[in-house]
């Protein structure tokens, strides 16, 4: 018996079979690789958190370094009080979509190379093409930035993607977010300009204006809810 390959029945059966085969192949790939991918993603997140505190380690010792240097991880609310939950598993992306007062705010305490405690805060925002995120490490005074790490999903290489370079993130070192007791997140402005409010600022990337603005907006949006927590830190320090 010969099959009529132009018949509707054959066509429908063919595409259905193809969909099942390809679907099964994708499902098997996804399921069998999921644990490994999750491990990679977790390890990468640990690496990024450590990078904000200037701790860079080879890929295979990230987990050990994280366990050694991150002494505590917890969640605070907008009043700076601790709440229940696992800081590492907080989806910062989802939190930024909520009103600032109701967000869960993860904090990672880290013992940095200088022996001091640093407080690492995750930030998440939007660049030109997709999400951008990062981690900002504060000194124990709750105001001075000890280090910053930024990453992006798909900014233009050579332009917006430059935010992930140390040349950009190291500009943040030493900037303070409290000016005479008032909380003012660090602004990102065009080179040569100054923000109007008197807050600390860094130069944006030339050719990456929208990404640079995204970083500024991200810092303002994600750091502001921590104002109470950071203020508590500075009071604890001065006592």
């Amino acid at each position: 018996m010969t099959i009529n390959k132009q018949s509707n029945l054959y066509t429908i059966a063919y595409i259905a079979a193809l969909a099942v085969v390809v679907g099964a192949a994708l499902a098997i790939t996804s399921l069998s690789l999921h644990d490994r991918q999750q491990q990679n993603a977790d390890r990468d997140k640990m690496r990024q958190i450590l990078a904000a505190a200037h701790i860079t380690v080879p890929a295979d010792s990230v987990i050990a370094a994280y366990k050694r240097d991150i002494t505590d991880a917890y969640i605070v609310n907008a009043e700076g009080k601790r709440v229940e939950g696992d800081a590492f598993d907080v989806d910062v992306d989802a939190q930024t979509k909520m009103p600032a007062l109701r967000r869960l705010l993860p904090v990672f305490e880290c013992r940095a190379a200088d022996g001091e405690m640093k407080y690492i805060i995750p930030v998440y925002g939007a660049g030109l093409w997709g999400p951008i995120w990062g981690y900002v490490a504060f000194d124990a005074d709750g105001s001075t930035i000890y280090g910053a790490y930024f990453a992006h999903k798909g900014e233009t290489p050579g332009l917006g993607a430059e935010i992930e370079k140390p040349a950009f993130s190291s500009e943040f070192i030493g900037k303070t977010v409290f000016k005479q007791g008032v909380f003012m997140p660090v602004a990102v402005v065009k080179a040569g300009q100054k923000p109007l409010g008197g807050e600390d600022y860094v130069d944006g990337i030339s050719g990456g204006t929208i990404t640079s603005k995204g970083v500024g907006a991200m810092l303002s949006d994600c750091l502001t809810p921590y104002a109470a927590f950071l203020k508590n830190l500075s009071q604890k320090k001065s006592n």
Binding site: I15, Q37, N40, A59, G158
Partner: protein
């Protein structure tokens, strides 16, 4: 066998005489997107070689069963499935590379070279020549990508594969990186220069 195909020319033709980018002018969009730096250009080139080779073989194996009126859909499903699998594999085994390629890997699906080769070659030929054709065209594409990436990174950023190659004394003497090179239009201009040089050396490609 109806026709005898010269495996050697199937493999080597796409390098120059029938290059998918500079002769057929396919896949230009990804040349724009991934050639600001050399490294993504290299990895993108390798990914395209892999996907093109596998999809050519798969389509060639099932070419006699595909109903003609849905053949494009079948090709698309195979390519899309392969690209997702490659992406998943990279995420599991080469996480850093997959992060770099996050956006570009999806672009492989829309690369017209793939559909072009599947439709023009794999649908009509046996698996072995199809494999050679896929690898050959992938290499032809990767070559152009790497050449463009090389010049754009060198002149635009003064680096190669992220390493500084233009010495500091050049900058001290007043040399400035050409910012125009990292903007998209320069990819087209560099490709145009390659086509110009290529055609001036291959008289039979010149149109009159």
């Amino acid at each position: 066998m109806a026709e005898k195909i010269d495996n050697k020319s199937v493999f080597f033709n796409p390098f120059s005489a029938n290059n998918p980018v500079v002769v057929q002018v396919l896949g230009i969009c990804s040349v724009l997107a991934v050639t600001v730096k050399l490294e993504p250009a290299l990895v993108m080139g390798m990914s395209v070689i892999a996907v093109l080779a596998f999809s050519n073989v798969i389509i060639s194996l099932i070419r006699n069963t595909i109903p003609t009126n849905i053949r494009i859909i079948v090709q698309l499903v195979v390519v899309a499935g392969l690209v997702v699998i490659v992406d998943q594999l990279l995420q599991a085994y080469a996480y850093d590379v997959s992060k770099q390629l996050s956006v570009f890997i999806g672009l492989i699906i829309t690369n017209c070279i793939l559909m072009g080769r599947l439709e023009a070659f794999a649908m009509a030929n046996r698996p072995w020549p199809s494999l050679l054709d896929g690898i050959g065209n992938g290499i032809g594409y990767a070559l152009v990508l790497v050449i463009v990436g090389f010049f754009r990174e060198l002149l635009g950023s003064g680096t190669l594969l992220g390493m500084q190659v233009v010495p500091q004394c050049f900058y001290d003497a007043g040399y400035v990186n050409n910012g125009l090179m990292i903007l998209p239009p320069m990819a087209l201009i560099v490709v145009a220069c390659i086509i110009w040089i290529h055609r001036s050396r291959n008289k039979d490609l010149q149109e009159h």
